[in-house]
Symmetry: C2
Subunit: 152 residues, 2 copies
DNA sequence: GAGTTATCCTATCGTTCCGATCGGATTAAA
DNA sequence: TTTAATCCGATCGGAACGATAGGATAACTC
């Protein structure tokens, strides 16, 4: 269950955009420097985000990127989906499309529950949250316990 | 966030093993047929599971595989970790090892919360649960809502 | 219009992972 | 000795991943 570099970069760049208060477009290179991401690579990612309606772009001098929607209306899940596709999938199929037999029958419930819990986190956090440096209560509560920060 | 075929197969084969009540080892081929998985591929997977201490094996006639621990002491998370590594990782690093700056600072909390929620599901389900066709309350509750079963 | 600043598009590249298969060595029971 | 299994290492085609490059296009400034 990995979050790709692409998704990570995409969220970070979007957060940076959300933090740019004045309405002026931010060039890809400025975002790349702010988040220390290869700027050619980031450009490709921003292209995806534009195609998916997360950001809007303006070309030429004084050009760059802007969020296509208000920052509090774009969730981390939106951004991840834009570059990675469905949040959770098993063997390239969505959980709901799987069929299990025999002793694995209830495994389907497990994957569906997993997706619910993933959504609960990623859909609760907006780019406005990230830009303001705060996190919603759900996230705060989940990370409150020390065990949350410990590796396996 | 994908669950690989390998992990899916691994969990299904383990569940099948948990369902084999008599203590006799089950040959890889029987597991493969029961769960409709390429049996040469499954053999490689079972090899991983053995190295990770999830299953034990016996060679020769009447050989096959057995769970190394009681079925109610092996979780789905254990099996997934055995074949895929850490449950959640971002850009090949564990969340706790990441560093974020600027507007992405609180993104770390998001990934950690994500991992907590993933663990909450996968560590709650044991192979005994799967074998008996039941799911723990956590999973039942999460999948109770209709929205859980709907795609994006 | 010339120069400059950007996005945009397409192509490529090397590496790794993924899903899967094969041949043969080894072990154990009948 | 035969038969039934695991075990080990190699290989394979294809896809994905992370990243880079060249040039076309657009828009603003002077």
């Amino acid at each position: 269950m990995r979050i790709s570099a692409k998704a990570d970069y995409a969220v970070r760049a979007s957060a940076e955009l959300a933090a740019a208060t004045d309405g002026r477009p931010v060039p890809a290179e400025a975002l790349a420097r702010a988040q220390d991401v290869p700027h050619r690579f980031l450009e490709a990612i921003l292209s995806d985000l534009r195609r998916e309606g997360i950001v809007a772009s303006r070309r030429g001098a004084n050009g760059g990127y802007v969020l296509a929607r208000p920052a509090d209306r774009v969730t981390v899940a939106d951004v991840v989906r834009a570059v990675e596709g469905p949040l959770v999938f098993v063997r390239d199929a969505r959980p709901s499309d799987l069929e299990y037999t025999g002793s694995a029958a209830s495994l389907l419930h497990v994957w569906v529950a997993l997706r619910v819990n993933v959504r609960a986190v990623l859909e609760s956090v907006t780019l406005a949250d990230l830009a303001s440096g705060t996190v919603p209560d759900v996230v705060r509560d989940l990370t409150a316990d020390d065990g949350a920060w410990v590796n396996p």
